[in-house]
Symmetry: C2
Subunit: 426 residues, 2 copies
């Protein structure tokens, strides 16, 4: 895909991707509130987004953050996963509901109010929050917005839902794929704080094809490991990230392997969308590590490159400073005790070999070509609403030590990122 030249063009494509599978409805409500913790009285805007299955389903799965201080939504979700069936998900942005005195009660209160409105047991509902950590949910204001949100439930497409769950996201993210007689549709939010283990990333996946609950969980766990857990925007992992999958089972069943392959395609694309839409992302960096002893080491080495502020800033500046790539790999290897051989290391940036036989291969002409290559892969981080293209900066490092390999995605580090995060709460 060469991307889009306008937001309207992107939204048209998004509506096509976001057509809901049979048996699901969505809606998004809005409210304003004034946080108790905020110095100024200026009100905040919040979206309340609802995803509801027509009937309870026992086919659902989840992957939750590994952060040791998880938010109330994660604690709540752990309980919901023990339920025989679930029905829907209520999502709010702006405040993440993490480690506040009444966090879990706040979530339960919201769900019981929603329960009364839609006549669904609260224990069949998830409460999911994203935004500022440490502040309290404005429960009364949110409760006040519930009736209109329920009223607005509709089938059709999930574009408004995908928009409603955004925080500082540059554009809404939806991917879908046909499978068997039905489809899998996935929406995601996530901008800053994106790292392995799905940090401050919310992913909601709905499908109308059936597999067993066990197969659904196995597929989601395996796919998340190879997609969402291999992207990094700023190496932080949040207290609140989760991926939830629900099936309405209204379009027949498919083999577990077919389901997992389809899910992997959807999640793989969505993971790249999330990096491309990272706060202030100007370049998407795709690092392939090969010739490694084992996959975990390959992933860690790739992460070392995409998380190096010096590599990230150089690429932002379209400066092919390949020395920083070698330094970040050597940094990782030397300090994690991985035995490497400089003579066997091979590094390519784009199509150009820059390191082999233990030495760099750089000259004036190659530096010029590499710089042009980086410029062509750049996006304008100030353009919001749609991705301009899906080009990546490809870095390939082969260590010549084994057969394992892995691909890791990351972003550059830009002025726009600093701007976004230096005053995130204002």
């Amino acid at each position: 895909m060469e991307g889009f030249s306008s937001e309207a063009e992107y939204l048209e494509e998004l509506r096509r991707r976001a057509v809901l599978p049979a048996g699901f409805r969505v809606s998004t409500g809005r409210l304003t509130f004034t946080p108790n913790e905020r110095p100024t009285q200026e009100p905040y805007r919040m979206n309340l987004s609802l995803l509801l299955a027509d009937r309870p389903t026992e086919i659902f799965a989840a992957v939750l953050t590994r952060n040791a201080f998880p938010g109330a939504p994660v604690l709540l979700a752990r309980n919901r996963l023990r339920e025989p069936s679930v029905r829907g998900i209520l999502v709010n942005n702006k405040i993440a509901n993490v480690c506040t005195a009444s966090g879990v009660e706040d979530a339960e209160r919201l769900l019981s109010e929603l329960s009364a409105l839609i006549d669904v047991p609260a224990k069949q509902l998830f409460s999911v929050s994203t935004g500022i950590i440490g502040w309290s949910l404005p429960v009364p204001d949110m409760v006040g917005a519930l009736p209109a949100t329920v009223e607005a439930l509709h089938g059709g497409d999930a574009v408004d839902f995908a928009r409603g769950i955004m925080t500082t996201d540059a554009f809404p993210k939806v991917r879908s794929v046909s499978v068997g007689e039905g489809s899998i549709v996935a929406c995601a939010k996530g901008a800053g704080m994106i790292e392995p283990n799905m940090a401050t990333m919310l992913v909601f996946i709905v499908t109308d094809v059936a597999v067993s609950r066990e197969d659904a969980q196995a597929a989601l766990s395996a796919v998340a490991e190879r997609s969402f857990n291999r992207i990094s925007v700023d190496s932080d992992q949040s207290t609140s990230d989760m991926a939830l999958l629900l099936s309405s089972a209204q379009r027949g069943s498919v083999p577990a392997s077919t389901f997992q392959a389809a899910l992997e395609e959807v999640c793989g694309r969505l993971a790249e969308d999330i990096v491309r839409n990272g706060e202030g992302t100007g370049h998407v960096i795709r690092v392939r590590i090969s010739g490694m002893q084992d996959e975990a080491t390959a992933v860690a080495a790739g992460k070392a490159v995409v998380n190096s502020p010096l590599v990230k800033t150089a690429i932002y500046g379209n400066d092919p400073n390949v020395g920083r790539i070698v330094s970040s790999l050597g940094d990782y290897a030397g300090n994690s005790g991985v035995e490497v051989d400089r003579e066997r290391l091979f590094i390519r940036l784009g199509q150009w070999e820059v390191f082999s036989g233990g030495v760099f291969h750089l000259d004036r002409d190659k530096e010029t070509r590499l710089s042009s290559y980086l410029q062509e892969a750049a996006m304008n981080p100030r353009i919001k609403g749609y991705p301009q293209h899906d080009r990546c900066v490809d870095i390939h490092a082969d260590f010549g030590l084994g057969k394992a390999e892995a691909v890791v995605l990351g972003s550059d580090l830009s002025h726009e990122y600093i701007q976004e995060n230096a005053d995130y709460r204002t």
Copy 2:
């Protein structure tokens, strides 16, 4: 120390600190060259700095980078450490001499030319380089500048030496302390790429008091671990960092414990100088982790906080976004398998308690005070030449799990950092 109001004021203090111990001379020469690898023909400036002991000394010590792809100077230094005695150090900035085809030969060539000029065996000399990784040293141009550099050798103070070794450093860094009948004087360079294990940091320590060579090495190793290895500007560790210590032994000897205590004072202060002078540093962040099971875990937890881009950008923006502190700690603990108890976690920012009993304690008034606290600790990253003050942003997290603790220093993440690193080579 409340810092300095002008560069002149700082240099005056620096001259006081930089008075050379007996038995050492220094000088700095300059040259221009055109790198073969550079797209444009515009010439570069390079400094050649020389530190020479009047006589060979068998009292010397070193700590070298753990990076798995070390530069030629590090490989060379490993050999020099096997020599019975050494005499001096030649330092160049601008190009780091890492992984080029002729890297080690280039360094040996420089040292043999220098050897002939000062009548000192090349094997008693160190060649140290810092700057761009992957490009070759302009050996002929450097050789051409050697005679003038030797000619300029002088006693007195090491201010010009401390300036000569700088790359993107905001100001020269020298610390000294009296010990026994003599003193210890240490100069450092280091701006970006500063991380644990002394990344792209060069530290040169001279003293005229004697301890055994073994005690000197033991002291330097122990002190580096608790000072230079506990600072982080951007979490990258370079291919070239090293700390070298030489003693002229001209002012008598001191007990090993006295020497180490004095060395620790000098290196501790120098480490903080290095963070304060980090590329684009607006705030110095001092994280104290206590109540931890062991020191290594305390250090790692502290590093997780000072290396979190979200914590760093919030502090740059004077935004007391303490949720990000808890998130970065939970991120570290959850993904490194450290068992923690949210109920026992206690966090203070400045003098204000922000987290205890498993929940945040934030209100409008406290947020306002915290924001003022961050503003008062800010420096103007655009002011170069001298540090304006030595205030830190103090973060204290007690995990209530054990008796171990550690202090880690880091910097915020600013627009100036991006600017510096997006076009470092232009």
